[in-house]
């Protein structure tokens, strides 16, 4: 069975390899400080105990007040898996360091995250929109993305269940 590291275990390992790189840990994940993230992730890949040579998954999450970039790291030799995160607090100019130099497999997932979340990856060799076309208004997976292109309205003014206000009445089709 794959051993899933808790956030605390990964935090200890990262702190041992690159002191001062951990911001905080949660039950499942270890949040790395943005300025040390690249160094810490590279050390986690190269250290024989951690040996996270395979980047299983990379994606973004919009947590309203911040963006999280989630890395699921995997070691094939030691059969273990861990979850690291890096946060970006500036919604307008969200930016984290690119890990393409560490894992080649990251480039396409970072491009996708850039396309759908608008998070810039510094150092990415070819950062451009891959699923949507250039000039598409906005980044659809952001939680505040509601309007559709061309001024079309999706029906509701906001997503259901996201505010305490009562649901708007259903508009008749004209």
């Amino acid at each position: 069975m794959t051993r899933w590291w808790t956030g605390e275990e990964l935090g200890e390992a990262a702190e041992r390899l690159v002191p001062g790189s951990v911001s905080h840990t949660t039950e499942t994940a270890c949040v790395l400080k943005a300025e040390h993230a690249l160094e810490a992730l590279r050390a986690l890949r190269d250290d024989p105990d951690t040996n996270f040579q395979h980047l299983s998954n990379l994606c973004g999450v919009d947590q309203w007040d911040r963006f999280e970039v989630v890395y699921h790291l995997q070691s094939l030799e030691r059969n273990q898996m861990a979850c690291a995160k890096v946060e970006a607090h500036d919604r307008e100019n969200a930016s984290v360091a690119s890990v393409v130099d560490i894992w080649q497999g990251a480039w396409i997932q970072e491009s996708e995250t850039y396309d759908l979340f608008g998070i810039e990856f510094e150092g990415h060799p070819n950062l451009q929109r891959i699923l949507l076309w250039d000039g598409y208004p906005g980044h659809p997976l952001r939680k505040d993305f509601l309007a559709m292109p061309g001024g079309l309205q999706p029906g509701l003014n906001e997503f259901a269940g996201t505010s305490a206000k009562p649901e708007p009445p259903v508009r008749p089709v004209t």
Binding site: Q53, C59, L76, N79, W103, Q104, I108, L131, F145
Partner: protein
Amino acid sequence: MSEIVQSEPFVMNIGPQHPSTHGVFRVKATVDGERVIDAEMVIGYLHRSMEKLAEERTYTQNIPFTDRTDYLSSMSNNLGYCLAVEKLAGIEVPPRGQAIRVIMAELQRLASHCMGAGAFANDTGAWQTPIMWFMREREKILDIFEMTSGARLTCNYMRIGGVAFELPEGFEEEVRALIGPLRQTIADGEGLLSGNEIFLARARNVAVIPPDMAVNASLSGPMLRGSGVAWDIRKADPYCGYEQYDFDIPIGYQGDAYDRFIVRLEEMRQSLRIVEQALDGLPGGPHSTEVPLALRPPAGEAYARIESPRGELGYYLVSDEGPSPHRFHIRPPSLINLSVLKEMTVGGSIADAIVALGSIDIVVGEIDR
């Protein structure tokens, strides 16, 4: 020679509508004569923004979306998603439900590899005969799916906590009747192609991926195993009781297109072994646990992955205790396997690029989602 024949690079589009791209997908190849000097993939033609749509629907309502990502292996997609929700909400599946899931996932792997291996044979010039043999067998598997779930491709059969319905009457006989002829078809296909001089000339030493690059580029599934890395999530991180079944992990030695084809054929044999064992030991009892219709998992996150026919299919879910996921992310094996397209094609001829693309076995519905 260079004084007599002069060539200059030009950009050639392969696709978006081209039989070798297996879907709506474009390769922007820069070629110098017959040599490919740069290859850029253009995707997004089939983008439906499923990850956004899923954030508005309940956990159960999202299961049909997963059918439509990798439309050649809907059972595997259902399974991966249900496992992620079960991990998030802490739901146990009864043994019978798990065994049914294993049978369905392995039948789906057989159906998908029938298509993958047959289409690859087509790409290498073994025109139509092998694919027709494999499609004949795949048709029987799809009939079994239709008998079980009512649909052939978009089955929507798995549910959170188990499967949707009990197996129909006569299911076991149908599956057992399938195993012998399918084994024969695999042997026929291998006999026709594996020693065939034309096939070897087209597939051997084409699109070679060394093992260290395969790991660094996050490849998975037959792409990773074809390069000689014995990594199978069914063995490494067993789900649905895969640890009870006896099967082997086939690997390749050279990491070329031929090895990936042979790995797929061998995987089909191993899948048949698993199906036989699962049918023999099919436990009784309920096929599913009771799960509330409007499931609200506790706040948190879960990442579950399975070995889908194309590789590591992962689902990453974030819950905010609401009735629908806060974030729904699919880790698509096809997309990540495709990301080494440039490394596989540059330096080869255009004909080799077609073989390289065929050996990845992409499904564009999963790439674009």
